[in-house]
Assembly symmetry: C2
Homo-oligomer: 193 residues x 2
DNA sequence: ACATTATATGGAGCAAAGTTCCGTATTTCA
DNA sequence: TGAAATACGGAACTTTGCTCCATATAATGT
């Protein structure tokens, strides 16, 4: 839905070049994380974004802040997809397609699932952001499908979100396994439609 | 059960001081891991064991080998406890006490649960060791309690082992929560004794 | 007991990666 | 256009995994 600076408490106007660099950094980081994993060196990301390391640390005081920012951005995008899917598909299809989309988010971004369960305080705000952003999106799809009589009504959004995270946690690189299990979950929703 | 050098393929006899240092290292590492976490610097462990870093790397070519060795040792100890408990308690009590012991193993050793689910190839041999060592121990206790008519008979050892790992994964530092859930699991076993 | 040899040790030093600092460059605004 | 505010780059510092090798220690045969 929204995409730009969410901070309504904008005390100071951000300089144009700073904003540009921040975006470039987020894009470069996503790219590098997918390729090299979240443990990729900061210098690598800085180089890919065409900035110096100093710039990275101005925007993201530490490594983990950059990781969190990238993940939050992806979570936002994933949540937003729910609304566009709902406009272009039947209730159930929208739900099924979203679950697929969500699953690939978790499966593709190595390090997201671990970060969600990390005891490192640097990642402590991730879980709440994650669930509070995605829960309403999925809930909306579930409600729609329930209203349409396409799925059962006793399923919690959180349970589904967690289930996928957990499945991906213990099944690295086994995309087929994960897809099979997620399909099974979705089919389970239709039981006693 | 066993405790000493398990390698039957002992090609060369190990020098006495080497063995001593290796043990000191394992002990120091466990200590440091519990205090500082598994990310503690190697130098710290070497210092605590009273050896140089070179010695650490002779015995454990890389950091992760030391971590794995420490965890395997703990797993061995935990499996062994099953037998002594069985001798001194009723079947059900032995089972309950062991589950408690096992739970604290997982909950206390930060980094064990994550390592079990890590996609880092350095930890790839941990999961199989873990389950293959603990499954028989728990199975024995379960069978005993089943024979005594104290618990139901349709529960898999693996399921219980995994359940505790998963519970601890998503509940850092919430010992109370974990204990409550594990108690619930154990009570569940008695349902329809 | 001692010499010989195989093995193990310690810790300086190297390399990689996170983070800081500050002189310089760019943007903003009047 | 000029001054003030802000941001930038990247050298340098720190931490940490790991290697190397001159030295020390244990095992073994005499």
């Amino acid at each position: 839905m929204n995409s730009e600076e969410p901070t309504l408490t904008t005390s100071k106007p951000i300089r144009a070049d700073a904003q540009r660099n921040k975006n470039a950094l987020l894009e470069a980081a996503l790219d590098v994380f997918v390729t090299l994993g979240v443990d990729a060196p900061v210098r690598e990301i800085a180089a890919k974004a065409g900035v110096g390391v100093g710039t990275v640390y101005r925007h993201f005081p530490e490594r983990s802040d950059l990781i969190v920012a990238v993940f939050c951005r992806e979570v936002d995008a994933c949540a937003d997809v729910a609304f566009s899917l709902e406009e272009e598909h039947s209730q159930f299809d929208a739900l099924a397609l979203w679950m697929q989309h969500y699953t690939s988010l978790i499966a593709t971004k190595r390090g997201l699932a671990p970060a969600l369960h990390s005891d490192d305080s640097a990642y402590s705000r991730l879980p709440s952001y994650f669930y509070e952003r995605l829960r309403p999106a999925l809930q909306k799809l579930l409600d729609g499908a329930i209203q349409a009589g396409e799925i059962r009504s006793d399923v919690e959004a959180d349970d589904l979100l967690r289930a996928v995270v957990n499945l991906c946690m213990s099944a690295h690189d086994e995309a087929n396994y994960v897809n099979r299990m997620v399909s099974l979950l979705i089919d389970g929703l239709r039981y006693k439609a």
